[in-house]
Symmetry: C2
DNA sequence: CCGCATCCGGGGCGATACTG
DNA sequence: CAGTATCGCCCCGGATGCGG
């Protein structure tokens, strides 16, 4: 990218991650951990392959991404975030949090959706109302993916995976799962729309935020 | 901007503020408050005027920016952030904070610099070590601009302006002022490089962070 | 298959000129 | 002062090719 040539933190950040697709690549690396080129491509529908290669090179040269050849038996390269690259997490959470209202009002019809994309907005929206009690785990199944929501230090951590004995399992289309978790949709109404909920309703109530976020406009 | 068409908070945010120059325009509005077109242009060296117009229209249509004609005697338009637009502040602080190491190592020679740009990284770096004591005010003079740093709720708020009786005044080139405040440069060393410090050194010590931030690479 | 490089058409971007 | 108009260029998007 052309540099803004401004001695300003925000401008410097945008010199590194301001290009189109760049922050979404970082998102994939953050949510997936070390990934192969092809897996990144699959998580970024619509990206041109040369762009992905360009961006990865740029991020590597800036010290955000590390590229390493996997162990000899596996003939593949792995891309992952450096510690400094992981430092982008708060900024990405903040951006996702800011955009949460758009996720609720948006007509999801024309948007592609992958389950693990929910991780960022959920981590910035959900809370732990009773941090002193033992941690609970929710498992989200959105068709293509499986996410774990775990209470942690007054908030929640969200990661891909599944648990042996989650306190509750929520299964359904991503927008319904999201709407239920953030308190936009009632449990009964969600169930009427083919959402499955099994387990402890108290675990759900425990992580739901108190009020919906600010609205645009 | 072309939409990513992903049902993901981060992607939705980038659909709105991911275009080139857009976040920098929001930065100017955040730091300056309601601004005229020309003032924005002057705070964004290098931006093409058609781009500024395009971006402002886009942001207005998205509900981030509000445009209003000033009172009849003044024949000018004013642009300002909507409340939702102001909600971008935490995300911009996080991005600026992430990039702070680049501000220290960067060769500032080729970068243009305006004093009020320091406000974002300072607000995310500085702290108030003794929040129980009465608030203090530092005034920064960087040649083109004057900034006020005020302790507030364990951190600091930074805004343009000057004070009648600040606890300390720091005057000099922006990089020196910044280096001194974040603890990168020693006061004696800074003075040797033509930085002027007047007032209470304790006020400076009170807001300096404990450790420098993480390093890239 | 995996990880790109190359090629090409279209549009976003950068700079200048001009106008109500 | 607050933009619009215009134009060249380069970035981006999409397709294909290609070596390991």
């Amino acid at each position: 990218m052309r540099s803004y040539r401004q001695w300003c933190g925000l401008a410097k950040a945008l010199d590194v991650v301001g290009d189109r697709w760049t922050l979404l690549i970082v998102r994939e690396l953050l949510l997936r951990g070390a990934s192969r080129y092809t897996d990144l491509q699959q998580g970024l529908p619509g990206i041109a392959t040369n762009l992905l290669a360009d961006r990865l090179r740029h991020l590597e040269s800036c010290g955000v991404v590390r590229r390493e050849e996997a162990n000899p038996p596996v003939a593949t390269a792995l891309f992952s975030l450096t510690p400094w690259g992981e430092g982008l997490r708060p900024a990405m959470l903040a951006l996702g949090h800011w955009a949460a209202p758009m996720m609720l009002k948006a007509s999801r019809q024309r948007d592609t959706c992958m389950g693990h994309w929910l991780a960022l907005p959920l981590e910035s929206c959900l809370i732990d109302r009773t941090p002193s009690r033992r941690a609970v785990t929710l498992e989200l199944r959105t068709g293509d993916d499986s996410l774990l929501v775990e209470t942690s230090e007054g908030g929640v951590r969200v990661r891909r995976g599944s648990a042996a004995h989650p306190d509750a399992v929520i299964e359904g289309p991503p927008d319904l799962v999201f709407g239920l978790l953030v308190g936009r949709t009632d449990l009964a109404a969600a169930r009427a729309k083919r959402l499955r909920f099994e387990g402890d309703v108290a675990a759900l109530r425990r992580v739901q935020p108190r009020a919906p976020g600010a609205r645009p406009g």
